[in-house]
Amino acid sequence: MKVLLSKPGLDGHDVGVKVLAHGLKDAGYEVVYTGLRKTITEIIDQAIACKADIIGMSILSGTHLVIAQKMKEEMSARKLNMPWFVGGNIPSKDVNELKKIGASEAFATGTKVSEVVNYFSSMKATVKTNAA
């Protein structure tokens, strides 16, 4: 399974996203990282180009709801149903909010790498089923 990890918006704090990239790689996932300050259009384009199965967005500046909304709109405008998730400085009340918008999961600061890896193991099963 291939994961595209991305940094949308202007936030440049990338320690967390890189830690997760290492963690997923060590757990056997193929990981592509976009680098900083990407627009939603650029992120989706790259996900399609590299044939990613899922998109992760790391956001620490508090703009997660605005960005998630944009992601949802662009996904539906382009008639895509690739799953996407969010990680970063996310208040617990926004976790459900993000899921309501369309995120498959939202991981707040403090989430263990192993938790995200476990989540991916369950995702892997879903992605395989969808493909079959």
């Binding site: 202007l10 963690g23 508090g62 790498v113």
Partner: protein, 544 residues
């Protein structure tokens, strides 16, 4: 890094005493006990504070007459609100201001730019034009309060605004004091608010050093940040080593402009991180201070003592604070403050206890301020200079740090120097790997963290809070920008922007043309745009 045992004459190594060996984060072992023999060869016995190479502090009396400056990071949302917060902090005894800017300002975008959507005023104050600056600093006496601008990618524009504002208010810029962060090389390593390619970015930093050396000699145009490099995963030795390599890169650029090391070195300052082992941090600062003095005198031939001073802001680092049991961060911060004072800092700023999950509230910012004030006024911290001087352990560790930092700097040389190491992503790759290893160490419980992996308690997790995003303030900011654009002299604006472009093409120092441009209310975004047209933009190497 080597981890060989340093056996003492009295033989008190871990093996001798039959205890487990202990390695500090920088990678080398520390003995269970140190004796006079461990510092028999040390130069420290002949050193006094205020004397070269300044291991014991850059001034002979340090805090006896005047404690370190307290400068908490502040500033959010609109310039109007920021101004109110500044007045609150000054009223409460703060002697310096440390200004935060929002991400659009840091990345060179105006508030009405589509890419700034959702980010205006969110993590700091938004600045579009000089008018915002004038509002933020309304009724603040620039002679009495020192101002630190936490800005990097657009630092040359913000410094130009500070100078322009001071000139307009009638201050003599020859006496103007203050600091800008303006360390773009660390932004490529750690914080990511770069705009232009690496070499052009360094050129702009050098422009500010040259301009200030000639016209604003008391202003500190650069504060080299080991802080963010450490937060990105560097260990304490690397933090100092990379910061020194960066400071040398800027200095080399300035020397190429024909100014001498004594024209600017005394205005260079540093911003360092504090978390982790108490003695390791103190030795880091004392050993680093000695090494920096030697570099500036021996390699650069500085004559003035003040050129050799490692002047620093050092306070509690976010990397040490936890979201779990956040009140514990008040205790951690007090230790960090103690480390900073025992290390002879010039300026101190502490992260607030809630900073792991929110922008500090007025209450938490006040606790940080009081932490430092209690230390100054109740603990006797200012009475004696370098109170740890002569401690066998601290001095032995200080000597070791001087040596280890020097060694690490040689590694950077092997990577063809810091500019190349940053442009190719060599440093980013190495520190991000370390950050991962450290995080996994904490998550596996190998690196103890109270409240996180030991002495945990079942508690409702403290929730992340953001200052509510103030759409009204954003709308007002955009309205203000519109009004300025329609009322300013747009012919002058065009002329000024063309001059910047021409100066950039001719590789001239951009400070004069940018100062002229901000005075006629050119926006940050407009100025950055013409610079991009000449310099291009940075292409990030992707590493993790």
């Amino acid at each position: 890094m080597s981890s060989k045992e340093t056996k003492t004459a009295t033989g008190k190594t871990a093996k001798d005493l039959n205890v487990k060996p202990v390695h500090i984060e920088s990678g080398f072992e520390v003995n269970p006990v140190y004796t006079a023999d461990d510092i028999a060869e040390s130069s420290i016995k002949n050193e006094m504070p205020g004397e070269y190479p300044f291991t014991r502090g850059i001034h002979p009396t340090m805090y006896r007459n005047k404690p370190f400056t307290i400068r908490q990071y502040a500033g959010f949302a609109s310039p109007e609100e920021t101004n109110e917060r500044f007045h609150f902090l000054i009223k409460n005894g703060q002697s310096g201001l440390n200004v935060a800017f929002d991400l659009p300002t840091q990345c060179g975008l105006d508030s009405d730019d589509p890419r700034a959507f959702g980010e205006v005023g969110r993590v700091g104050m938004s600045i579009d034009t000089l008018e915002d600056f004038e509002i933020a600093f309304r009724n603040i006496d620039l002679d009495k309060i020192t101002v630190s601008l936490t800005i990097n990618g657009t630092a040359i524009i913000l410094i130009a605004m500070y100078v322009a504002m001071a000139e307009k208010l009638g201050y003599d810029i020859a006496n103007l004091r203050g600091t800008a962060q303006n360390d773009i090389l660390k932004e490529f390593i750690g914080r990511g608010t770069w705009i232009f390619p690496v070499d052009k970015s360094v050129k702009l930093v050098v422009d500010t050093i040259e301009y200030c050396a000639k016209h604003v000699p008391k202003y500190s145009p650069v504060s080299v940040c080991g802080y963010h490099i450490r937060e990105s995963g560097a260990n304490p030795v690397q933090e100092m080593a990379y910061a020194f390599c960066i400071a040398k890169a800027y200095s080399d650029g300035a020397l190429e402009r024909g100014i001498t090391i004594d024209d600017f070195a005394s205005r260079l300052s540093f911003n360092f991180d504090i978390y982790g082992n108490l003695f390791e941090q103190i030795a880091k600062f004392r050993g680093g201070r000695r090494l920096w003095a030697k570099i500036i005198r021996e390699e650069y031939g500085a004559k003035k003592d003040s050129s050799c001073w490692l002047r620093m802001i050092a306070g509690g680092g976010g990397g040490g604070l936890t979201k779990e049991q956040p009140e514990n961060n008040i205790v951690r911060s007090a230790y960090y403050a103690l480390i900073s004072a025992l290390s002879g800092t010039q300026t101190m700023a502490l992260c607030s206890y809630d900073e792991a999950y929110t922008i500090p509230t007025e209450h938490s910012a006040e606790i940080s301020l009081r932490t430092m004030q209690i230390m100054i006024h109740e603990m006797g911290i200012c009475d004696t200079v370098d109170p740890l001087g002569g401690s066998y352990y601290v001095e032995a560790l200080t000597d070791r740090f001087e040596k280890e930092i020097r060694e690490e700097m040689k590694t950077v040389e092997k990577w063809n120097g810091i500019v190349e190491a940053v442009a190719t992503g060599k440093i980013q790759e190495s520190v991000s790997k370390q950050a991962y290893e450290r995080e996994m160490g904490v998550q596996r419980g190998e690196i103890p963290k109270v409240g996180v992996n030991i002495f945990t308690r079942d508690e409702e997790a403290k929730d992340v809070e953001f200052h509510p995003y103030n759409q009204k303030a954003v709308d007002a900011q955009i309205e203000k920008l519109k009004r300025i654009k329609s009322t300013r002299d747009n012919i002058q604006v065009q002329t000024c922007l063309e001059t910047i472009k021409k100066d950039a093409q001719e590789n001239k120092n951009l400070m004069p043309s940018i100062i002229a441009a901000v005075k006629v209310y050119c926006t940050v975004g407009e100025i950055v745009q013409v610079m991009k047209e000449v310099y291009g933009e940075y292409k990030e190497p992707i590493f993790f």
